[in-house]
């Protein structure tokens, strides 16, 4: 989820505040396929990922690409926030505000290994995330398109000068950034009950992760995500749940005080 958000910012300087609600949209799509068509959650990704890719393309072309000028990044927050409100309202109308959770045989079951119970959904989710990140890595570092993305990440003007269609790269990147929310949404929906308003909790955590990891850094988003979850859970168990959320933000403040660009962020400002 955070990977998509940081990819979008890295290439386009767009802060997609709607990422949280798009995760929930992904969860609801999985829910609809599961409940109404009986399609397994993971199999359903073959439908939901392309669907959200198209949604991302449409959003970028209709709303985001029209943002121009020096205030573009700030305006992107407003525009995507408005979009998130519209999507939230639509989801409430279609699915009501009742909390739901994705169900499958592996959602509640676990297996015993070395004396520890491992829930199947977390293991499957981990493998899915690893697979998607691997696919993203291969795309970024082993394909011409990936080279175009990395060039745009480094310097959009220079990328345009060497013949890269930065606009198309941006559109496709936005689509990819939204498409991955389908997978994140499915796993989120299988491990939590949710309704449309759950997106607010999500987006605050996602934004925090990409700030800590370094905005535009995929590796940073991955590391920061793992750090956040691990730190919070350890503090909750060892010390107290009251301090678990705060512990992550304490780390965030310390890291940003020493490295304002985040763990893997770039120090120099980019020129759009």
């Amino acid at each position: 989820m955070a990977t998509g958000l940081t990819l979008i910012f890295g290439v386009m300087d767009i802060i997609n505040v709607a990422q949280g609600i798009l995760v929930i949209l992904g969860a609801y799509l999985s829910y609809a396929l599961s409940v109404h068509l009986g399609i397994d959650l993971f199999v359903g990704l073959l439908i939901t990922i392309p669907t959200l890719f198209v949604v991302g393309i449409v959003v970028e072309r209709v709303f985001v690409s029209r943002l121009k000028g020096p205030e573009r990044t700030a305006m992107s927050i407003l525009v995507t926030y408005a979009l998130s409100l519209v999507i939230e309202g639509a989801l409430n109308m279609i699915f009501s505000v009742n909390d739901v959770q994705l169900q499958a045989w592996y959602v509640d079951r676990s297996f015993l290994l070395f004396g520890i119970y491992f829930p199947y959904i977390y293991v499957f989710g981990f493998l899915l995330a690893a697979g998607l990140l691997g696919a993203l890595y291969i795309m970024l570092y082993r394909t011409r398109f990936g080279a175009s993305i990395r060039a745009s990440l480094a310097d959009q003007t220079a990328a345009a000068l060497v013949g890269i269609n930065v606009k198309n790269v941006a559109t496709l990147c936005f689509g990819i950034g939204v498409a991955v929310t389908a997978a994140g949404g499915m796993v989120y929906g299988a491990t939590n009950t949710f309704n449309a308003s759950t997106s607010y909790d999500l987006i605050t955590r996602l934004l925090t992760i990409i700030v800590l990891g370094g905005m535009g850094s995929l590796g940073g988003a991955l590391l920061a995500g793992i750090l956040m979850v691990t730190l919070e859970d350890i503090v909750a168990v060892v010390w107290s749940p009251v301090w678990s959320t705060m512990s992550f933000f304490i780390v965030l403040v310390i890291v940003l005080s020493l490295r304002p660009q985040g763990i893997f962020g770039k120090q120099t400002a980019r020129v759009a």
Binding site: S96, Q101, D108, T191, I234, P241, V242
Partner: protein
């Protein structure tokens, strides 16, 4: 001198306007509707309860309008959303009273929002009848205008505690875990239960408070499961919290012998949809009302609700009494009590309504009797404990109550 006179008149006028923009005179022109202003959480953390409250208020309004309204005046509800925000709820009531000039006000959902709401409407001299602000902080604020038609929450778990501690020694659990959200509703309930149960030989093996804004309960739930308590008392305000703990317990292959949550399992269909029918089996929750209550007013309300809203996404087919959300009854009770107060005082004067409700009179509602003490607490009701047994939501405590059925104990294993 002339300027001083003008400014004095202007100042006096402003003072009169400020003080009179609040409490209504109590009379309405013939045929004019009576407007009731309400702030509800139609989005945000309390959205499921907020929408259920909206249904309850609207059901009451439909019912009273079908009988000719309040003193011949049609009831119009002006419901605005506070997005579950304590700051927005203040703005809403200020707007409802000083801009929209509603005649009466009903309360929002949750203790968290009721206290600031009650403080706001108190400044305008309005009565605040509410059904979901039962935490001690509401009554400790010293407000004379707030009236909670639902039993105060502090002793919600007293029947459960009594049942647990009076079980025969051979079957009585030996260990218990308390885990609660840092919420003005849940913390007092769990603390009092802990105090009551602590007098017995049941040992506390886990006792933690988690932040109300927590979104990931897995680590906390795993820690509870690792302590292997035979009883779990969970201070929860909503279905997602209970569901998360249930899922984590199932994944850890941990089934307590008894599992009671302060809220969540009483949400009827909303709870079942989230956790699955099989997993709900054995889950307990305190409340002062349930859909199959033998109260005649309650039966009529449930029938009207099923006829109007059965088959919607909130009460899905089949919509049975067991699947009716307790919030509906709480909201409906607010309307019933206000209607009786309006009828007794002969108008919509908030000062008279407040005085009447403080007079010690006993009123009726779908939740049972209503009688307020000087703090606005309704102590005339009984706390019950309910339990899901199969697809039925039944009363189990107090065990001596004629409507109670035997407790399903120990709790069946998770069934997914």
């Amino acid at each position: 001198m002339r300027a001083l006179g003008v400014s004095s008149i202007a100042g006096a006028s402003m003072l009169m306007m400020a003080t009179s923009s609040g409490a209504s005179s109590g009379s309405l022109a013939k045929g004019a509707p009576v407007t009731i202003g309400i702030s509800l959480s139609l989005s945000g953390d309390f959205s499921a309860d907020g929408q259920a409250y909206q249904q309850g208020y609207e059901l009451w309004a439909d019912s009273v309008n079908a009988s000719g309204g309040l003193l011949g005046h049609k009831v119009v509800l002006d419901i605005v959303s506070d997005a579950s925000s304590p700051t927005q709820v203040v703005t809403n009531y200020q707007d409802l009273i000083s801009v929209k000039h509603v005649n009466l006000t009903f309360g929002p959902f949750s203790t968290l929002l009721t206290l600031p709401a009650a403080q706001t409407v108190n400044r305008y001299g309005y009565a605040m009848l509410e059904g979901a602000g039962g935490g001690p902080s509401v009554f400790q604020a010293g407000l004379k205008n707030v009236f909670d038609v639902t039993l105060p929450v502090s002793y919600d778990l007293a029947p459960f505690a009594h049942w647990l501690t009076t079980l025969p020694a051979s079957v009585r659990p030996k260990t218990i875990a308390y885990v609660t959200s840092n919420d003005p509703f849940t913390e007092p309930v769990v603390q009092i239960a802990q105090k009551l149960i602590g007098k017995s030989d049941i040992k506390t093996v886990y006792n933690k408070v988690f932040p109300a804004e927590a979104t990931d309960y897995t680590a906390i739930a795993d820690a509870v499961a690792a302590a292997k308590p035979q009883v779990v008392v969970l201070g929860s305000v909503d279905v997602p919290t209970v569901s998360a703990f249930m899922q984590a317990f199932e994944q850890a292959h941990f089934t307590p012998k008894a599992f009671v949550a302060t809220a969540g399992p009483d949400q009827g269909q909303a709870f079942i949809s989230a956790v699955g029918k099989g997993n709900a089996d054995g889950m307990m929750v305190p409340n002062s009302w349930y859909g199959s209550s033998s109260n005649a007013l309650s039966k009529a309300m449930v029938a009207a609700y099923i006829k109007k809203d059965g088959g919607t996404k909130i009460c899905t087919n089949p919509c049975t009494p067991a699947s009716v959300n307790a919030d509906i009854a709480e909201a409906y009770s607010v309307g019933e009590v206000m209607a009786q107060a309006v009828k007794a005082t002969g108008g919509f004067d908030n000062a008279k309504i407040i005085a009447y409700l403080h007079s010690g009179v006993t009123l009726t509602s779908v939740q049972g009797s209503v009688k307020f003490n000087n703090l606005g607490e309704n102590l005339a009701q009984t706390a019950y404990t309910f339990q899901w047994q199969g697809s039925k939501f039944v009363e189990v405590n107090p065990t001596t109550d004629k409507g109670a059925v035997p407790v399903l104990f120990p709790k069946p294993a998770w069934s997914s």
